[in-house]
């Protein structure tokens, strides 16, 4: 059976990204009373999501 060669690498990369995003969102939600901390979490989410939605897979896996 022919497997997509970089499928496992992509899976590992995206799983790490998803875990980082969940940690960042949860951090922001638990710091909602601290506007500065919540905003920092949002900035981090914005940055990570922008990278993923740009979809430059070859850059991620190089």
């Amino acid at each position: 059976m022919s497997e997509f060669k970089r499928g496992e690498e992509l899976d590992t990369y995206l799983l790490q990204v998803v875990q980082a995003l969940h940690l960042t969102v949860n951090h922001g939600i638990t710091r909602l009373n601290d506007a500065k901390e919540a905003d920092r979490a949002l900035e981090d989410c914005d940055h990570i999501l922008a990278v993923i939605l740009a979809g430059q897979v070859s850059d991620w896996l190089s």
Binding site: L14, V18, A35, L49, V57
Partner: protein, 238 residues
């Protein structure tokens, strides 16, 4: 009617039609998962009404990316590379619903209420599916989609309950997304739809699934004091 269960290792032994349908369904499902974040992250992450709403937008996108990852993984196991979907322009998405952009909070709310609900329908079609690698993914993904639907429904209801301009904006969003939602089920007389059922990849025809959806959402829309749009106006797939 095909009743067996097919493992990834046996995929290439299957009838070419079965292989084509599995490849197609994995590609379209992956496209739908990643298509959502492409519609709303850029516009809604900075503009959602509160910080909590902004973080929920981020969490929703995160979960959809994870759903994409899971389907991309099982696609990769049969040699199907769907990574191009990550960077595909919205205008080229397989499903018309994902070809635009969400610009208002009302649209984001209604998208969750109506379109993520279609996501749930699509996923529920795979319960008991003949292609075995799909089944283990379903419980967690459906659970997360239920969270998106609940959030969208709550937001939609609250925005409608404010009345006046807010309610009118929600109605306009319902008018836009309801028609797209009905089209997402595809043609009622689709040959592919019949073949998916024949091969045990889906449980219901397009027509049956759409009818069930209408039965569920029409009373929901009315319960919010909103009007159900004409189900035929502006439709592409009847």
């Amino acid at each position: 009617m095909f009743k067996d269960k097919v493992e990834a290792k046996d995929f290439e032994k299957m009838d070419p039609e079965y292989q084509d349908l599995v490849r197609k369904v994995l590609t379209i499902q992956s496209d739908c998962e990643i298509g959502g974040p492409h519609l709303y992250v850029e516009s809604m992450l900075p503009t959602a009404p509160t910080r909590l709403d902004q973080l929920i937008v981020a969490r929703t996108a995160t979960e959809e990316i994870d759903h994409f990852r899971k389907f991309a993984r099982i696609a990769g196991d049969i040699g199907l590379d769907v990574s191009f979907l990550l960077s595909m322009p919205n205008q080229k998405r397989y499903v018309e619903t994902f070809r635009g952009a969400i610009q208002t909070w009302e649209d984001f709310a209604v998208f969750g209420c109506l379109i993520d609900r279609i996501g749930r329908y699509q996923l529920e079609e795979f319960i008991g599916c003949s292609y075995r690698p799909i089944e283990p993914l379903l419980a967690d993904i459906i659970q997360e989609e239920l969270g998106h639907i609940d959030y969208g429904e709550t937001q939609t209801r609250e925005l409608a309950a404010r009345g006046g301009e807010s309610k009118e904006k929600v109605q306009q969003a319902i008018n836009r997304w309801y028609i797209k939602a009905l089209d997402m089920f595809g043609h009622s007389d689709s040959r592919n739809s019949e073949r998916y059922v024949y091969w045990g990849l889906k449980r219901r025809s397009n027509k049956q699934a759409r009818e069930a959806y209408i039965k569920e959402v029409n009373p929901l829309i009315e319960s919010m004091g909103l009007r159900v749009p004409d189900p035929l106006q502006g439709r592409h797939y009847l």
